[in-house]
Symmetry: C3
Subunit: 308 residues, 3 copies
Amino acid sequence: MTRPLTPSLPLQYSAEVAAAKARGAPIVALESTIITHGMPYPGNLDMARSVERIIREEGAVPATIVVIDGVLHIGLEDAQLEALSQSEGAMKVSRADLAFAIAERRTGATTVAATMIGAALAGIKVFATGGIGGVHRGAEETFDISADLEELARTGVIVVCAGAKAILDIPKTLEVLETRGVPVVTYDSPVFPAFWSRDSGLKSPLMLNSPAAIANFQAVREELGITGGMLIANPVPEADEIPREEMEIYIARAIDNAERDEIAGKAVTPYLLDNLFHLTDGRSLKTNIALVENNARLAAEIAVALVD
Amino acid sequence: MTRPLTPSLPLQYSAEVAAAKARGAPIVALESTIITHGMPYPGNLDMARSVERIIREEGAVPATIVVIDGVLHIGLEDAQLEALSQSEGAMKVSRADLAFAIAERRTGATTVAATMIGAALAGIKVFATGGIGGVHRGAEETFDISADLEELARTGVIVVCAGAKAILDIPKTLEVLETRGVPVVTYDSPVFPAFWSRDSGLKSPLMLNSPAAIANFQAVREELGITGGMLIANPVPEADEIPREEMEIYIARAIDNAERDEIAGKAVTPYLLDNLFHLTDGRSLKTNIALVENNARLAAEIAVALVD
Amino acid sequence: MTRPLTPSLPLQYSAEVAAAKARGAPIVALESTIITHGMPYPGNLDMARSVERIIREEGAVPATIVVIDGVLHIGLEDAQLEALSQSEGAMKVSRADLAFAIAERRTGATTVAATMIGAALAGIKVFATGGIGGVHRGAEETFDISADLEELARTGVIVVCAGAKAILDIPKTLEVLETRGVPVVTYDSPVFPAFWSRDSGLKSPLMLNSPAAIANFQAVREELGITGGMLIANPVPEADEIPREEMEIYIARAIDNAERDEIAGKAVTPYLLDNLFHLTDGRSLKTNIALVENNARLAAEIAVALVD
Ligand SMILES: [Mn+2]
Ligand SMILES: [Mn+2]
Ligand SMILES: [Mn+2]
């Protein structure tokens, strides 16, 4: 199943992205793990189509990034999106194994880190996601820290998210980002958000109030020769949030359940997210969809500001 | 307040630095946080002028690095230095937010990390400071580690300091520097210094005895294509030191006081430094000034050796 | 003893490596710490010669990397190898001090990190070693983590080893490699090996079954612009292994002995390795030699596949 050594990377742009690149139009990268691992069919397809529509409404072009049968796709045709939303057994690829999926002709859904690599390769400067990976609770004992943080320190892409998932250790996640020199900018709010909630209880390191200011900040970073990315934390709209006090009770309960069921290692995060879905009667998923749509809108506005 | 997108970085050299660059003369970068956040007026101005004078006496040119109203200055005219020494409300900028201060037309004093970025941008290879940031005590629980260590691993500037401030966790700071491949060289002493004291109780990883040997070591690193910086630990002169046994008692007391007063997070370091000033009847500040002057002298000698 | 500032690096290729470079033949880099610090004379010389012979038998050229009296050697003539195997007082150099040994005209044996730097400098893409450094047991308190992991994240060399030495904290070592985006590929086995044993009890992140597949994976990484290295974990042959259950008893005993004898810091690893030699009646050394030879063979096959 190994691809023979070839001089050229199997890379496929969607027609829409290829055209946007040719005319210098704004493009927003999107990850694919949320489609293959984050939500069940057909909700995942509805969400993906809705996000693409929002980006187009704002005057930008969506570019979902994914490896399908060893081909790195930058942007999908709608039929490919539909097929991906029903595919099973996709790898979840990060910096370490994005090239593995290509070399071994596998299908690999991209995490935040791998999406950033694909975006940078394609010259796309903005990327909308739900929440980034971060420092896991208990990392002082396990050393379990997402490769997303490293990628932010390394790759020059603006990542728009709703904070880090609150099942992570958010204070430690902010410490690692500070140590690595990654700007953390909350959009139009002085407090760092916590994915499902607008407020993590932590002050945000930086705040900006317009897409133009974000675009300008990144432009100055490039002029200084600073090569890494930037995290834009966009709080979920008030109407869609699950307030922090409420969410923390659910999270504590989910963590208790995981311990009772002796869940460990890589199984913990999916278990917690599934448990939260049930504990919140499905509200956690509705909030997740709302925040991804909200991030897509802001990312498109930033992409437009970057080409202005 | 956002700066409009411009193709060129607002960067201003002092007349003296511009002339030195033009003729290839030795230059020593200086940080600005020590002026705005490290010492009160007018002591900070006296210290800054004294340091600049020492560097000139050794045949090099001082280049204080700071962002003033969105302009990145490499070297200050004396009137600017005086104004800075009395300015209030300056940000304290590191890798994550140096560009933010420029983009948002703010005033930002540079930490070790941001000064290294400015120096590298201006082609300055040596930088004198008091002490670098490092791993904070309790970092095994808080993950609080200064971005200075990351910058040393990344940016090719020789940083001359008197060690890491002894309120930090010095053994862990040395471990992180080793992991990141940063050379730690003590000048003319086999023991790593502890800022106010000549001896931290820890053996230094490397030792060199002349500015020429330091310059040569860095030249070989560049020939090998190794891109990061180097830490030169220059023990404070014996006449000015507060011996380690004495200093450790003050530090333990200051840490107790911080706990009693429930100081946490970013407030801890300024609290401890202020508390040490009182516990030592002002000697900690006198030692601080003496070691900065001592580092300026060595940095100038290294800068001269680098152009020889 | 300081070398005068020179524009050219003192770098010496062996005749065999120079010829191989000229004709584009496959080359395998080898470390030198295993010779100077890893095994006593004359066993170290026998092992080194045997490893070089195996690489030649597979159609590649061996390039032992070492600094001798300030000259960086890429490949040694046999008389130099013999002299090195009997030399005393060599430094053990990593990223931080490889250039120091050159600048100060010292003799420095290269660790995994320094060997990778030398290999990359010489355009050599594959390197065979015994085991890499990693996260030390207790690192959650000491922060003692080998610079080898950082180098793997940075430098584009394929490192063939038998896993991490089992005296390290292997789960944390794998976490750090994942965080840093380093591919960890076990050769032809689904479980990550533990140096003396074929099985560490941990699933391997990735698996490949042929040198061609490994060569291809690395080629795709380069096409993606991913700059770091790759870890190939090659389990020791079954006939030579000390099974995990047995080895864990010896390791636990050696750690107890180290505590009883109050061994700390950098003295711990050599103490443990020596203690294991005695506890296993010399079998740990025999296994070590067998796995290095096994890795040399696979590395040569990968080097051949890379030029095919
Ligand atoms: Mn993880
Ligand atoms: Mn901090
Ligand atoms: Mn160590």
